[in-house]
């Protein structure tokens, strides 16, 4: 197996695994946050505005973890620096 195949294969595998771990764990965290916020709203409907806003902020914080993973996997697939390096090294021509 030459280095080009290896880099391409590993990029795709790691991109998939990044999405796998990086979407499951924030999903669990967000599920806990939403469940807790729902029960809080059920207990105190008057405070629904504050709870909802705080919930949104917290969800955005958690979600950004998933977004980091997504951006990394997109970089691995669409704009992989190693892939560019390997293809230029193999053919000797620019990109």
């Amino acid at each position: 197996m030459d280095i080009k195949t290896l880099v391409g294969m590993m990029s795709i595998i790691i991109a998939g695994m990044t999405m796998f771990v990086g979407s499951i764990s924030p999903a669990l965290g967000m599920a806990r946050a939403v469940a807790q916020a729902l029960s809080s709203i059920a207990q105190q409907p008057d405070e629904a505005n504050t709870i909802t806003r705080t919930l949104f902020i917290g969800l955005a914080m958690i979600e950004s973890l998933a977004i980091y993973c997504f951006v990394i996997s997109m970089i691995l697939i669409f704009a992989n620096p190693f892939w560019r390096y390997v293809t230029t090294a193999a053919t000797g021509a620019g990109h």
């Binding site: 504050t50 949104f56 955005a60 979600e63 950004s64 977004i67 669409f78 704009a79």
Partner: protein, 252 residues
């Protein structure tokens, strides 16, 4: 009509016009278009405002938007929203219009480019010390970096930078992923599912605009926060209830 190919992550790569070193890419063009929509629209609406009962429907729309933003901001900051409204409101309307226009064919949202979102986040990064120094004075603002001890200062600075990066990457990732998902679905099931995803994308775009502006409000409010705590302490010693301070802690 897709202006953006599937293997191009951001609309920066779509160069529409080039002259020597000047390049006009899709991001800049659509940013200009949104700026024109916002400016000309606001100018047209606010040209003949009336306080009578016969308000135009456009004035009602603008009043609803401005009143809503003002209410949200003053709830978070626990003070009058007047100072923050121009900045936060512009952020919100720009991002919201930019995301909502994504159902127009041939349009690529400028917020799906990391350059735009980074620029917006840097605006927030600059605005936080600006409002903090305006509110508490230069020394008063700089002092909160050294609280509770001087050892914490690198972490404060790290926090400021990392939340700016998070702000930029969150908006970019959400909007970019939306357009990519629609593009991929177009290749697999071209008939109905892309439309469903685009409807979902409108919702996500509005929520992201809301989150971006709410987060920047929270960041700005956190630069003002210690000031309010001092005020409420004073109130507390005079026998008044220190309810606002407790509420501020909850919201932040």
């Amino acid at each position: 009509m897709e202006i953006l190919h599937l293997d191009q992550i951001s609309p920066d790569a779509v160069v529409l016009w080039r002259w020597k070193f000047l390049a006009l890419n899709a991001t800049i063009l659509y940013t200009w278009i949104i700026m024109a929509i916002l400016t000309v629209g606001s100018w047209l609406i606010t040209r003949n405002l009336s306080t009578e009962t016969n308000t135009t429907r456009w004035q009602s729309l603008l009043e609803v938007i401005v009143t809503g933003m003002r209410g949200q901001i003053s709830e978070i900051c626990q003070q009058d929203a007047g100072r923050f409204l121009p900045f936060i409101g512009t952020l919100f309307t720009f991002i919201a219009i930019s995301n909502l226009l994504s159902f127009v064919p041939g349009y690529a949202p400028p917020t799906s480019s990391l350059s735009t979102t980074a620029a917006l986040a840097i605006c927030v990064f600059v605005a936080v010390p600006f409002y903090g120094m305006w509110d508490r004075g230069v020394a008063g603002y700089l002092k909160h970096f050294a609280e509770p001890s001087l050892f914490i200062m690198p972490f404060h600075i790290l926090g400021e930078v990392s939340r700016t990066v998070a702000l930029a990457v969150r908006l970019f990732g959400n909007i970019m992923s939306g357009s990519k998902v629609v593009g991929i679905l177009l290749a697999i099931t071209p008939l109905l599912f892309p439309i469903v995803m685009q409807v979902l994308e409108l919702l996500i775009g509005l929520i992201q605009a809301y989150i971006f502006s709410i987060l920047s409000t929270v960041y700005i409010a956190s630069a003002l926060k210690a000031h309010e705590e001092n005020e409420s302490l004073v109130q507390d010693t005079t026998g008044l209830i220190a309810a606002p301070a407790a509420k501020t802690d909850e919201t932040i």
